[in-house]
């Protein structure tokens, strides 16, 4: 009975000691770099979608450029002033143009960009369906002869060629 008890006094002591060591070795939790983590998070989310103008192929959030730091500070200030994301975006666009946005705004000049891929897809599917239909119809009419080599003949020739090649092994 005594033996079955999960916690003997010795175990409890050992646990206590372990905890003590743990607390002692557990140094102070490092302070976040940002003054205000909520503001920082929003700032990063906004600047992640913007292009750094100096090194141009980094996002504003990732860039070490001087101007990027200034602009991040500016964005932080605006967040603290209670500006909305779209107001902050407008602030940037008014100064640097659409170029600063990694996510191009939806407007007349970017419709093709945004809808292009889906247009491509729709067109491709249309062409595909059309092709498969016509192909079926032409095969039904036995039309391949007109189109050039008969596929059956072609297949035979290819097979013969392949056999010939294999034979060379």
């Amino acid at each position: 009975m005594n033996k079955a008890s999960p916690f003997g006094i010795r175990q409890i002591l050992a646990l206590f000691l372990l905890l003590l060591i743990a607390t002692l070795s557990l140094a102070k939790e490092a302070a976040p770099l940002a003054e205000d983590e909520v503001v920082e998070k929003r700032m990063v989310a906004i600047s992640d979608e913007m292009r750094c103008l100096v090194c141009q192929n980094e996002s504003l959030s990732g860039s070490h450029a001087e101007l990027a730091q200034d602009l991040r500070r500016e964005i932080r200030t605006m967040i603290k002033e209670g500006k909305s994301d779209s107001e902050i975006k407008a602030f940037m666009v008014n100064r640097y143009g659409d170029f600063v946005l990694y996510r191009p705004p939806m407007k007349a000049t970017t419709y093709l960009l945004w809808f292009g891929p889906f247009l491509f897809l729709a067109a491709a599917i249309l062409v595909l369906v059309n092709y498969l239909r016509r192909r079926g119809a032409r095969l039904d009419q036995g039309a391949e002869g007109v189109e050039g080599a008969l596929s059956a003949q072609e297949q035979q020739r290819a097979d013969a060629l392949l056999k010939q090649v294999e034979a060379k092994r």
Partner: protein, 201 residues
Amino acid sequence: MKRFMIPLFLFVVLLGFLAWGLKPGYDPHEVPSPLIGKPAPAFLLKQVDSNAADFSPEQMKGKVWLLNVWSSWCVSCREEHPVLLSLSKTGAVPIYGLNYKEVRGDGGFKEPDVETPESNAAELALGRRRAEAWLSQHGNPYVLTAMDITGRVGIDYGVYGVPETYVIDKAGIIRYKRIGPVTQESLEKKILPLVKELEKS
């Protein structure tokens, strides 16, 4: 046959665009300013000359003028400086300087965590000393130079690479922005004809 020409046709169109990208002088890095055709952002800044009153673009209403963004740590500013000096001697158009982040732009200087009036005054004084020394060494083409110590005005003007030069008309509207050093060629081909035209209106 026509159907099978489509890939070739698309390729030729693509080739056309790519060829356009190779035209001389094309620079994908250059960001056109959205401020063109808009009023020059207002500001009120101290000048390099500590005795002079604060400068605001408001004071320039009725004149066509150039606003040139420069700094003593900016290497390409030295490149354009002789061009600006000779331009100032002709008196064709007044050049006003906007000194951009003279102290903190230099990299070596860490801006204070908390700005106090004292730290700001010390930074301004240091900036003025550096700017003055630079102007007396290289010559001063500017009617006056305003000190944008924090770079805040630079942000309003969309400055992203010093030097930059703005042409501002009589109504205070930005008409043109030159990114990078002003060259004799850009002056003769673009800036001066534009100034002349703006003077007329």
